[in-house]
Symmetry: C2
Subunit: 492 residues, 2 copies
């Protein structure tokens, strides 16, 4: 199977597209720009959801659900937000089909069923949610509102790619309302940190935490915090954002509260989200030319066991040993699959589970039976070793922890060796083209320079790292004053 | 708080609408026919989801996700299905807004951004899913496909009511594909049984299992299995359906497989779903004039503890006892809330938690401190008793089990005493109007009679019960031959 996979060095982009489809994560649908998330891919997404949901609840948030549609007048209330999304939104204009009199068996839009006001399919839910919050907030006692929603959203992207950029995608969007500016800023930072911990500790994806420049900021936000990851081709990927909305939406939707002194004030807001885009980040951070490599925390199947046998008697004997092992592993909450299909050869199975990124493969044949051993293979390093069956389940359990850690460290090494400080625009272009990754450079703080650099190099400012040194320098492009380095990169 | 709640005898419908809003389950949104599910309501829905999802996985199903939109040509492929949903669907015709030149600051649909083909917002996903299955099925080895999706769907209902009938609602939809007719029928029946067990054992809602008549069948199905519940006002509510689709969608989307003999055959299908409508059934089955009554299995908060005190010292002493109890209850996986707000009086708190349906309320005051007791009140029976603190946590845990059981039995008694056999049309009308509930009557099996009865009485055939006696009789309306009784009722 993996023989058919294009390699990363041949064509990284093609490798990605093929892998997503061949590993049964997702595929393009018959609807322009929309994907089908297949069961294996969805099982990974469910693990992400469960862990994120746990973290949100742990930090005091509750889930709720708001409408899919936003009436046009509501959509346009916050002008910057509307402007940012107006160019790429799906619009419902009618509510009925009727039989087409000219084409028997065909339907047509019924012109008599035109909506009085058009409905926008939510590209993000600030408008609908803040219009609701108006009814929920009267006094400081009603604050904070700490609410999250799991939902689908639609952005009419012209050029789409599975998981990375699709017209419809799945995400969660948190929307909170606070009595003070400080509390709202603290919330935005807290959720950025929740995302960073999730990416690093659960997905084994190292990220840089930072602030977006004004150009890259969310439409309608005062400040956008982000986590930025680096893919194996040296391109960056924005893995999550958390916005401090100031009082913009409160003003647009007239959401006020009586403070302790009884005075009316506008509420302060945040919003934050991660999406099925993380699936793309997962694939591109860890996988290799043989297929997916999944961190154990996210693998729907953590261990696959393949019997090697010639006769039915051998298979029976093997199965006795395997069933003992499966019971032990299940006790340790390891998810395990026994691939005892009789229709496929071991080699085929090995390739299939490699393609699907199962972290650990255990093989057992007649020799292992004699010796009381199993062959244990790691997907990430493609190494294998023979292990005694004594204590094997604990060994496997520990190995899964080790693999999770090793994957993170490998990605971290790659990422750290791909942050390059440059001090001239020549160097900037050279590093960007030859090596890729994050280019750390001084910038004069203007949108004009940012745009010129983008036009010339396709690199954008991914973020102003939160932990950057405050150091005087001069802009790599204009030579003007700079207070510290920012990270540029080509990005997904 | 509950003082403001309309009583059931005053106006059942008003009671329901008020209760859903006042208990913080849901509210109408600024979008016609669409609701906002509030955190307390959503927490109940999450519990339903978790239990259903567990049951689906236990029966071999996997989750996946398919697009929100269905292109018109795909939508119309299965004619009966299309016909059934064409009259009430939201249609996307454009993909961009632009600034309105006549109205500064306002947006308008960009006429240059008209879609070549209109997209229907899914009212149900058979079309998009079967168009996908075509690519997934080649051989009998690819079958069965056992897939479920959690999603939002849109049906442009003209008269909407929170949870019961909304333009957008949340649901799960299972879509399976099988090699044989028998297997598909078995699957439809299995999922009807899963729903029935869920309704009865988890939601404490007794249901009748049955088949729909042709008139009431899902558009595009060969047979629709259903579970029907009875609300306290004597009206029935369809709580879940499971459809045997025959080869209808396989033929519409050309989904064939090579059987073991290598011959091409059409695949057999099923689909099945339950929705946020179950929230309405939950409210209307158990609740009373004081507010919600929640079965412990579904209650976001199972136990609330209210301190009764005059001085801060008393509150401190009470809190010491309460914290011990909370720790014990948490060990038993009981979800508990300590309502130690200093801004509200006990009476206010009692009424609030009654309104919100918390199954057990524990109060503790200075006398209880002296005597080593707690006052334990049941929400369902509105009774209370004093219990020693010794063994109290086990007592509470057992009590929750008992309440769950009692709620089911109470609803079962009501339901069973509201299934009335009638043998004349006079009697039919009398029972329907005076007593309500299910009217069990012989019917001649024709759609014409069914329709006439509906026109005259507003009662529809809720189902042909699976466990009905096969007995000869004569139709209550026409006198023609009948093979057994069916259940009529007015319905939600």
């Amino acid at each position: 199977m993996s023989k058919n996979l294009t390699t990363r060095s041949e064509d990284y982009s093609k490798w990605y597209n093929e892998l997503v489809v061949k590993a049964d994560l997702a595929e393009n649908s018959g609807v322009r720009g929309c994907m089908v998330i297949k069961p294996y891919g969805y099982a990974i997404w469910e693990k992400m959801q469960a862990e994120l949901d746990r973290k949100f609840k742990e930090t005091g948030h509750e889930n709720a659900y708001f409408p899919l549609f936003v009436p046009k007048s509501m959509f346009e209330a916050e002008e910057k937000n509307a402007e940012g999304f107006a160019k790429e939104c799906a619009i419902v204009t009618h509510y009925r089909l009727k039989n087409d009199p000219d084409k028997p068996g065909k339907l047509m839009v019924d012109p008599n069923a035109k909506l009085e006001e058009e409905l926008i399919v939510r590209p993000t839910s600030e408008a609908i949610i803040w219009s609701t919050y108006k009814g929920w907030v009267q006094s400081y006692r009603d604050l904070p509102l700490l609410i999250n929603q799991w939902a689908n959203v639609v952005r009419w992207e012209m050029r789409t790619r599975l998981f990375l950029r699709t017209a419809e995608f799945l995400w969660q969007e948190g929307h909170t309302a606070h009595a003070t500016k400080d509390e709202a800023i603290e919330e935005s930072e807290k959720m950025m940190n929740v995302y960073a911990e999730f990416a690093e500790n659960f997905m084994a994806i190292p990220v840089v935490k930072g602030l977006k420049t004004e150009t890259e900021r969310f439409a309608g936000a005062e400040e956008t915090y982000c986590i930025e990851a680096l893919m194996q081709d040296g391109k960056a990927l924005q893995a999550g954002t958390s916005h401090f909305l100031g009082q913009n939406f409160a003003k647009a939707f007239d959401v006020k509260f009586a403070n302790k002194e009884g005075k009316q004030e506008y509420v302060w807001g945040t919003s934050w989200g991660v999406s099925t885009r993380l699936m793309g980040a997962l694939v591109m951070t860890h996988s290799d030319d043989k297929g997916l490599v999944l961190p154990p925390n996210l693998a729907p199947i953590q261990v696959v066991i393949v019997p090697i046998y010639k006769t039915d008697e051998q298979l029976d004997e093997i199965s006795v040993e395997v069933n003992v092992l499966i019971a032990e592993l299940k006790k340790l909450n390891v998810s395990v699959k026994y691939d005892n299909r009789t229709t496929q050869k071991p080699g085929f199975k090995f390739a299939e589970w490699e393609l699907k990124g199962v972290p650990v493969r255990i093989a057992i044949g007649p020799k292992d039976l004699e010796n009381g051993t199993f062959e244990v293979a790691r997907r990430d390093t493609l190494t294998k070793e023979v292990q005694s069956k004594e204590g094997i389940s604990t060994y496997i359990n520990d190995l899964l922890v080790q693999i999770q850690e090793d994957l993170f460290n490998k990605a971290l090494n790659y990422r750290d060796s791909h942050i390059t400080e440059v001090n001239s625009f020549e160097e900037f272009k050279e590093v960007l083209n030859d090596k890729g990754g994050f280019v750390s450079a001084h910038w004069d703080g203007t949108a004009a320079t940012e745009e010129k650099i983008k036009d010339l190099t396709k690199a954008t400012i991914r973020c102003i790292p939160l932990d950057r040194l405050e150091e005087a320098g001069s802009c790599v492009f204009t030579g003007a004053e700079s207070k510290g380095r920012v990270l540029f990169a080509k990005a997904y």
